[in-house]
Symmetry: C4
Subunit: 219 residues, 4 copies
């Protein structure tokens, strides 16, 4: 509460940024479920098969799963990054707001992708649009890390953690390139684009830091 004031910088405490970000991530990830429509009773009755009714919805479940895992992974990285910081500045808060803008927006392209599934031309556009939003989330995360490093927002005593943080970019950076590839390929063959999004989501969710430690590369 009585933190020293450096003359050239306004320091902000992290707790409310964390609380607000956790809120937005948690809501965005939970709102996704509202996009999944229950097959109408009439539909079930005419086809006489409820299981097929559920099965027919698989692109919706897939889109739900990809969006959920991607937001989840971005939240984990966000949490690791902010955890390693000593304090934040006003620019960090604004960059963070832009990250949240894309996270909160994700339910829209998710819905679009599952609604336009099967409509050739529309599907292409949806897959690219969806990829751009995913890409923007990861991009903003990288920018937040860059800004924190440039402005010296990291804590002094967590130098190791900080380097660790830098190494994390090896996980984020390739996914950035993979998103561009997926969006480009997805414009021509939507199914492959979506498959790559799925792979990236799983890749981002791997606890790479723990895995590296397991194989003896401890800091």
């Amino acid at each position: 509460m009585a933190e020293p004031q450096k003359p050239a910088q306004v320091k902000h405490k992290k707790n409310r940024l964390e609380a607000f970000s956790d809120g937005v991530f948690a809501i965005a990830i939970t709102l996704l479920v509202l996009e999944i429509a229950v097959p109408a009773v009439e539909e079930i009755r005419s086809s006489g098969d409820a299981l097929r009714g559920i099965g027919h919805e698989w692109p919706v479940y897939l889109a739900y799963f990809i969006s959920f895992m991607t937001i989840g992974a971005v939240w984990i990285e966000h949490s690791a990054l902010v955890d390693a910081l000593d304090h934040i500045d006003g620019v960090f808060m604004r960059l963070n707001l832009v990250l949240l803008l894309f996270a909160a927006f994700l339910p829209f392209p998710t819905r679009m992708m599952s609604e336009w599934k099967g409509v050739t031309e529309a599907e292409r556009v949806a897959v690219v649009f969806y990829g751009i939003v995913l890409l923007m989330m990861v991009l903003m995360l990288i920018l937040l890390g860059r800004h924190a490093e440039r402005e010296g927002l990291f804590g002094e005593d967590i130098a190791d953690e900080r380097k660790e943080e830098a190494r994390v970019k090896y996980q984020l950076m390739p996914s950035l390139i993979a998103y561009v590839v997926a969006a480009l390929v997805g414009f021509f063959v939507p199914q492959i684009g979506i498959s790559i999004y799925l792979i990236i989501a799983i890749w981002l969710a791997i606890p790479l830091r723990d895995v590296r430690r397991l194989f003896g590369r401890s800091a």
Copy 2:
């Protein structure tokens, strides 16, 4: 903030996992209400009885109540588990994310069960589907506890609490089996399946630890 770093493990602080989980549980539990439709005015007018209009919706209220109590009970157990931990690791965060995936998904089978009520074949599928999601939540909770025990994430000074935690599994484990039974029975007689879900929700919500203490088995 200046916590000691063990070489072979990345420690994470619990506070953001708690905040994010609380957020998802709170939102999932509150979104359930959106699934309850107000009977249309025309319907009320033609039947001339608003009370019957509300009463007719009882399966929806029941599904709402079961889902609310189950998420509530899972949240209470989750909160007791994480409370007893000293720190968490990356795997715990990912397992937790899968638990949240099912909690956030619950409004969907809840809606399905109340919309397909009365449509013989569809109802069966909905009751089984709903049971599987409930079962997965409890399963993930047990896996989280197992992982925490195996990796020594519990605090040293709360050894008693930890054993207490182990004992809690006596509450979770039977419900796991009960879910399997309920889903199987529910496929043939949906009403009985739903009744068992209701009983499990109430069973999970019993403050068993406090009850045990009351009867003199203090630690």
Copy 3:
């Protein structure tokens, strides 16, 4: 973290109960806005008056305002109560869950009341139903306070605050009776019932503790 364990009672920390409750209250209060429908463009076009279109929605705005203020007031009392506690027990967590059940459910009768407005018989039922949910929230709040007092959950050093808390019941208790009156009257004359709900919401929102101090009755 290393709190002493009494033999006959399981103590729980308050922070996650606070976080979860804040989440549910915040979501319930914010979801209310989804119940307000924008008048259709065709409607506006035919009547040629958008202002009247908005004005025509006044019962919806009123229901929104009453629900918002009531949840807000309940949150303030909840926050004051839990703030005065030293710790909580398992029963408190379950009672709290029931309070949250009604708070999370409130958007439903709110929608019902604004949709059934003007349909004589249905309106009566909606007004009574709405009042019962409001009453249950306040009742659960009183039960929580009672339980805390009986089980000695209040902090030792905040004896004054605790008495203060008891005095708060003078604010909650009359509103309980007023809800019963409002629901009864509302069954015959809905408009008066709703007016009383509005008055109770405003009454509950008065910072009575501060007002009492102003007039010199300091503790």
Copy 4:
């Protein structure tokens, strides 16, 4: 926990007000996305152009962006204000509740503005209505700051921060006047009104404190 009690004032801790406010702001900002409708598949099919389908929705995206940035900026200011406080009183909690009332209400006029776009007379009303809600948010923020200053809620050790806070009003005050101008102009030329809302949102989001420091006017 054992904070000293002044006789003439009830002190409240800030943490739950922060948590509740963060929750409401986070939910309001995330619910906005539900207002954006995905263009129907039939529409896309008939026009044969999905990109145009998305592009046609630009007023919706613009309204989403303005609302998101305005709530975001209000949250940042709210967070800076409460951060500088030592404690809060009952009146502060109620004023804060009114601020949250308008923040939680914002998704409604946002939806109205994007749905009534292009319908001459209705559009005018929507633009003015939307502006009034934005204005009320900023007004409540200023009132909160005023109340805190008058009642001496600021911490003693953060006198500089406090003055800083006062200076912030130079950012809020002009936006208040700009909202009145925008609403008035917007009644006659909606497009210009909306453009001014956009400019205010960007203006509010500028990290003015950091910018001032950059140019050497450190405290």
